[in-house]
Symmetry: C2
Subunit: 332 residues, 2 copies
């Protein structure tokens, strides 16, 4: 009897071993080509998760921050939230007949990008407030979700939330499988982001940091609500990113992922901490499959980051050569 | 042979069953007396965690928010952070000889509480800025930790961080064992709180929401730092609590725990959501073991909350009758 049991058990060992080896060999980043960028990510995760290693980082401190526009999803020809603003101006125009003759609304309604640019930051801010304030947080969430369900990107003719980068989705999943918590630190509006980040990236609302406007607590007929006010609260861009990350997370992440100079200070702050650190910049150099832009771009300008990445030890990803596939909808 | 195996296995069944029953019967809230308050907590947790029940709440949405002062630790005779401010004024005074003749510093240095009160909110704000700003976030963290290690509470002659409520520690652990995530939403300073909340409550920095001052990103000799500025950023109290919770968490918690009218709007907003909701107020009515105060107290005033708790379905905890033990250091 014991013999039979031993034989049975012995026969199971190679099966278990094979299954274990197969699991170990499943590539967590199949859309990344074999090269320095992929290697740098794999090696960093290997170092910080290896127990007993001097570079081991406890799971609670494995925090990674990601920019959104141009890092997790596309941002050309205009930031998607900018397109949302313009679409909302068109949708709201019937309620505001005076917009036809009033800048900066007139510029949007006539698709006059020159006049729009001439309205400057003040004009853009006015458009943001006209489209982002004056409703409850729950109403705004519904407006964003409706827009995401109906609007289409001009080049790809698809919903904007389709234009997320497949290699970055794999990277997020790979980090989380290694007990990292993944946060977004975006210049975009925090409540705009929260409308899709959970469904699209698996990043829950409490792990999303972004720019914000002021909200006010109000109670009507015993029903409380948070009402969005036309007043800036915080701009989570450039030097604002480390400030926002510290405010929300309260500790320095060990890895940061960005694509433009708006991410420079976040990368700088994260990678200046003690212990193992990782910084990565996505370089948009693929005009065929996506868009090619960097130093001179109005949207997602990447100049200083590209110049300083080598000496700072940051990984630069070439979308052309490091990514086999860019969007989830592409044929593999 | 099979017979032996069957007998062996059968003999294990009662052992396993006993172990399972014992585990099921371990009281998660041993410092709570058997009564309505304890029952209400246990029943709420039972309802939202029972799979298939109409009140089941998925783990990701099981978010509970806790006030800190008077809810998780004591707050008399003055808010502990207020004592920190006064102790810092004394510690810094040798560097500022003019404080001896300058209000509101003079009042603190002479322990003249009347003159201090006369300096009003403006005076208190000046003291906060003088003691909380002008250093990096890392330096401030060290200052708070040093103070917590050395300062002693006037009544209990113990470090302030000893004065946490044992029943609330058990409640935090019980909620987390049931896949809740526990957050703090305090009127206290967020970076003051973060210096001890992880060690004391098991609440990590990214789950702490509080009042804040502005920080500025600075780079000196290639080393980046966040410098604390003498400028208010956000007051997380009263109507600010739902605003702060929405800003940081981005969704409405399902349970809220407070003790003063500064928690009223948080409790109101949390318990007004759809689905199962829970609100609890700690009532300080134990002058012997702690302090007794409510409607007329300058610190931790509880008036409206006490009046409206019954009709709003909030549980009111009597520290005298609902808690067997108040502090972890008490003999059981």
């Amino acid at each position: 009897m014991w013999k039979i049991i031993i034989i049975l058990m012995a026969s199971l060992v190679p099966v278990a071993l094979l299954a274990w080896q197969a699991a170990a060999q499943i590539d967590p980043l199949p859309s990344w080509t074999e090269g320095d960028a992929k290697k740098s990510v794999m090696q960093f995760v290997g170092r910080v998760t290896k127990k007993g290693s001097p570079d081991f980082v406890p799971p609670m401190e494995r925090i990674a921050v990601f920019d959104n526009d141009g890092t997790l999803w596309a941002e050309q020809p205009v930031y998607f939230q900018g397109q949302f603003v313009m679409d909302r101006v068109h949708a709201l125009a019937p309620q505001y007949p005076d917009w036809k003759e009033k800048q900066p609304y007139k510029a949007v309604l006539e698709n006059d990008l020159k006049a729009l640019a001439a309205s400057g930051q003040k004009g853009l801010l006015e458009l943001v407030m006209a489209t982002h304030a004056g409703m409850t947080t729950e109403e705004f969430d519904r407006i964003v979700k409706d827009w995401l369900a109906t609007a289409r990107h001009p080049k790809f003719k698809r919903p904007y939330a389709d234009l997320v980068y497949q290699p970055m989705l794999e990277l997020l999943a790979f980090l989380r499988a290694n007990d990292f918590r993944t946060f977004i630190a975006s210049g975009g509006g925090v409540e705009f982001l929260r409308a899709f980040c959970d469904a699209r990236y698996g990043i829950p609302p409490e792990q999303v940091i972004g720019s914000s406007i002021v909200t006010r607590y109000e109670v009507h007929d015993g029903r409380p609500a948070l009402v969005r006010e036309p007043k800036l609260d915080f701009i989570d861009d450039g030097e604002g990113k480390p400030v926002g990350i510290n405010k929300f997370i309260g500790r320095r992440p060990i890895a940061a992922f960005g694509n433009s100079d708006g991410d420079f200070q976040m990368l700088e702050w994260v990678t200046a901490g003690t212990g193992p650190r990782f910084g990565l910049i996505v370089h948009h150099d693929d005009a065929v499959r996506e868009f090619a832009y960097d130093r001179a771009s109005a949207v997602g300008k990447l100049d200083r980051g590209l110049a300083e990445a080598p000496k700072r030890g940051w990984t630069v990803v070439s979308m052309t050569s490091d990514w086999k596939r860019i969007f989830p909808f592409e044929n593999n």
